[in-house]
Amino acid sequence: MRYHPLTSADREAMLAAIGFASFEDLFTEATGTPPLAGDLGLPPGKSEVEVERHLLRLAENNLSASRAPFFLGAGAYRHHIPASVDHLIQRSEFLTSYTPYQPEISQGTLQHLFEFQTQVALLTGMEIANASMYDGSTACAEAMLMAHRLTKRRKALLSGGLHPHYAKVAGTVARMAGDEIMLAPPDVTASEDLIGKIDDSLSCVIVQTPDFFGNLRDLSGIAEACRRHGALLVAVFTEAVSLGLVTPPGEMGADIVVGEGQSIGNALNFGGPYVGLFATREKYMRQMPGRLCGETQDLDGRRGFVLTLATREQHIRRDKATSNICTNSGLCALAFSIHLTLLGEIGLRKLARVNHANAVLLKERLAELDGVEILNKAFFNEFTLRLKGDAARIVEALARRGVLAGVPVSRLLPGAGLDDLLLVATTELNTDDDRTALVTGLREII
């Protein structure tokens, strides 16, 4: 087997050196029972060529975004990733290193995490950020738990504009932990009255902007109401590129900002791996979940970086830890940082502007269609259409024509009576031809 360096002769010599006649004897000695013998019901190993052939066949049975006009969003966005990003994250020293528990020989990962934390803090308009979470949805649930710890209250209010799967993840965690959530009904047009629901029993209010339906929301009023009632405002985003153009949650008074970082540097990957971003105020530092990288000095007085504040974490605090998280999304965070470094301030702003411009163009063209109503007033690169007909059926029909038209709201909110709603997202990758294909397709099907 090409991945195994030991030869049969090596194995025999090693067994002899430790005093066993066979591996079976060694295993029996170690476990009390002999190893399984015979067929495992699994196929024999394959050569590199055969593995590649097997997986290519599976890959070809998917309609990839590069082969179709593509308008899906709803929490995962298709953006261009510069070639250098993928090259750099495949450097052995990044790809095949572990969590930097030995800082003297892990400064590459650690300095990156320090830079990543700074980038996330800047982008969200917050004071500090952690070294990443699994994804946006789990970061959101962790923010809720952090708010519980900080306020010593156990009831969260979730906006009806929050991504339905984020709400489900938070709801699952809350139910399992014996906490309470109040989930507002789906709020397609960002017209819900959250402020009227805020009282002294809430640990936090969780609001997304741009929200699940694509609406931009001003959070300052909610932030003010939260402050009055001692609750925390948790702001969520799923499209990180939006932060290049819209007012960041930190400037609108959010206490914790969480989001999905996939759209910077990371491919769609059918839903993962992604990278959760988590930022907050400095005064809440010790209740943060996840790894934190901090600056310090070595014995010679040179600047260096270490994982720090580990007394919050499971490997030290065990059942008293702020979270059970251990593994994070290091390499996805690296891809995020490299792409954001390439973009820089002017690049990110321009990228966000191009996304918005393309969305405005698409909206104008869709608005001309009979049987299509656009529900958003303010949006970034995604909005909601009300179609004459069942959106899932229309999307399916368009897919058969090779157009990936968007996400039917019923996919995430089945049974909510929103079957005629379609989420459409557009990025810098969409061309005029793509828009024409979507508009033409919709016209013909509706």
Partner: protein, 501 residues
């Protein structure tokens, strides 16, 4: 340290041949520079509802060559599996085949959206089905939840299924205790506590493993589950796991097995055969998906027949000729926004296809053999907390053999850095005093194991010769000397600011 270099020969600018210092991005980047060329936005009337960003972000940019240089220089400050032996116990730092990277980047996997019509992603669903099939066969379990994103997330998932099963029996109020051995990963008690369970420690015997008689006394109608790692974090197989499972089951509880150490078992024994109800599998350990400096991982959870109905959404079902993801109304709820770590699924399946069933058995066998080879070669020098006994895929030593030398486990580990090795896991598990946990994996040639032993023996001899002062200075040859972790925690600086820069 350049103690051997004459003062006049010291480099002037901080670099040393191939060792190059690199400033922070924020010290070299400029907000007016970008390494990406973009088309001008089409003329449009902004529809941001007055929420346009007014303040600058302050994000520095770099051109593409500067970006390459910055991150390449950073990368060179890291140790890696590709560069050398990385014997971190409990982390399974095995070879990461590059074919897997190539496969995960096929546009048919990397460039598909999780919410595309399912008719357009049948190949991806088939890949998930095949991955599930391999994992279920290797574990002899009934069902699988693929979505958990890492080991601890898998623990949460398994315990949530257990909690849901208990609630379904109307015992939610009474079964609130989870038994957790003292040697367990910290994630175990943390996961239990997160769900409102009380984690009750279970002591191991003097031989480092649990004994049925000791555990039996703790089992009762208040026990929701026992969480065992098998082999445990001391590298020892829990022989009584099967009997303990029977007793827990008889008392109405469940058996969660932490599968972090499955690299000792794959193809050799099956968790389903020793009574496991739920177990996560770290695809980033046993199945070679790269650790990436701390993630991403993937932690699918296999479930027994008793827990299968409580698996979270999404579930993969055969629907006529097609596969379908059922995304709602499943089991206890939802762990994550989408379907799990697809990129890791591709890599893990590529790994398994390459090995085949027999190759996986060989991998586990070699991992166990290599650990025992190291153990035996070091047993006359270093002390083992539970005696010199056959171990599984990792060998645990403590620091008793260093007592009186003035050299601690930490010093010894730092000295290994100067010898060109990544140290073993130290001070874990907590049940061993000054633990040194060595996991070579199956990826090391015999010559590398022999060289590692020789290095440990030479260092050991130096320690026993009471050259403690030299150890306390180590490392001298790494990019940094020992870092002040106390200062980092006392006055946390978690980001760059103008002032600090």
């Amino acid at each position: 340290m350049l103690d051997h270099v004459h003062e006049a020969q010291r480099p002037l600018a901080g670099g040393r041949a191939l060792d190059l210092e690199e400033p922070l991005l924020f010290e070299i980047g400029r907000t007016e520079v970008s390494g990406v060329d973009l088309d001008e936005p089409a003329p449009h009337a902004s529809q941001l509802g007055g929420l346009e960003r007014k303040m600058p972000i302050g994000l520095p940019g770099l051109s593409e060559p500067e970006t390459m240089r910055h991150f390449v220089r950073l990368s060179r400050l890291n140790y890696s599996i590709d560069a050398g032996l990385y014997p971190l116990g409990s982390c399974t730092m095995k070879h990461n085949p590059r074919l897997n990277e190539k496969m995960a980047r096929l546009s048919g996997f990397a460039d598909i959206h999780p919410l595309q019509p399912q008719s357009t992603v049948q190949g991806a669903l088939e890949l998930m089905r095949q991955l599930a099939d391999w994992l279920l066969k290797l574990t002899n379990m009934e069902a699988i939840a693929l979505s958990p994103k890492a080991g601890a997330h898998g623990e949460s998932c398994g315990l949530m299924a257990i909690k849901a099963a208990i609630a379904a029996k109307g015992e939610g109020e009474t079964r609130r205790t989870v038994l957790v051995p003292q040697s367990a990963h910290g994630t175990n008690p943390a996961s239990a506590a997160l769900l409102g369970f009380t984690a009750q420690p279970v002591p191991a015997g003097p031989d480092g493993i649990l004994h049925f008689e000791d555990v039996e006394k703790l089992i009762g109608p208040h026990v929701a589950a026992i969480m065992l790692t098998n082999p445990n974090t001391c590298g020892l197989f829990e022989r009584d796991a099967g009997r303990i499972a029977e007793a827990v089951h008889a008392a109405g509880g469940y058996f969660y097995c932490d599968g972090a150490n499955f690299n000792a078992l794959a193809g050799l024994t099956r968790p389903g055969d020793f009574g496991v109800d739920a177990m996560h599998l770290n695809l980033h350990k046993t199945f070679s998906t790269p650790h990436g400096g701390g993630g991403p991982g993937a932690g699918p959870v296999v479930l027994s027949r008793r827990l299968a109905p409580f698996a979270p959404a999404p579930a993969l079902v055969q629907d006529g000729a097609n596969l379908r993801l059922v995304e709602d109304g499943q089991g206890f709820g939802r762990m994550t926004a989408f379907h799990g770590q697809m990129g890791m699924f591709v890599r893990a399946l590529a790994y398994m296809l390459a090995h085949g069933g027999d190759g996986l058995r060989q991998a586990s066998s070699d991992a166990v053999l290599s650990a025992n080879y190291l153990r035996a070669a070091l047993s006359d020098l270093m002390t083992q907390p539970f005696g010199d006994r056959a171990c599984m895929h990792e060998a645990l030593f403590d620091e008793e053999w260093l007592s009186g030398t003035g050299v601690s486990t930490l010093d010894f580990a730092k000295a290994l850095i100067d010898e060109g090795y990544h140290p073993m896991t130290i001070y874990f598990p907590l049940v061993a005093h000054g633990a040194m946990l060595i996991e070579p994996t199956e990826s090391q040639p015999k010559a590398a194991l022999d060289a590692f032993v020789a290095t440990l023996r030479r260092l050991g001899a130096r320690a026993l010769a009471k050259e403690a002062a030299a150890f306390r200075e180590a490392p001298l040859h790494a990019p940094r000397r020992r870092l002040d972790e106390t200062q980092a925690a006392r006055k946390p600086v978690l980001r760059w600011t103008h002032k600090a820069g």
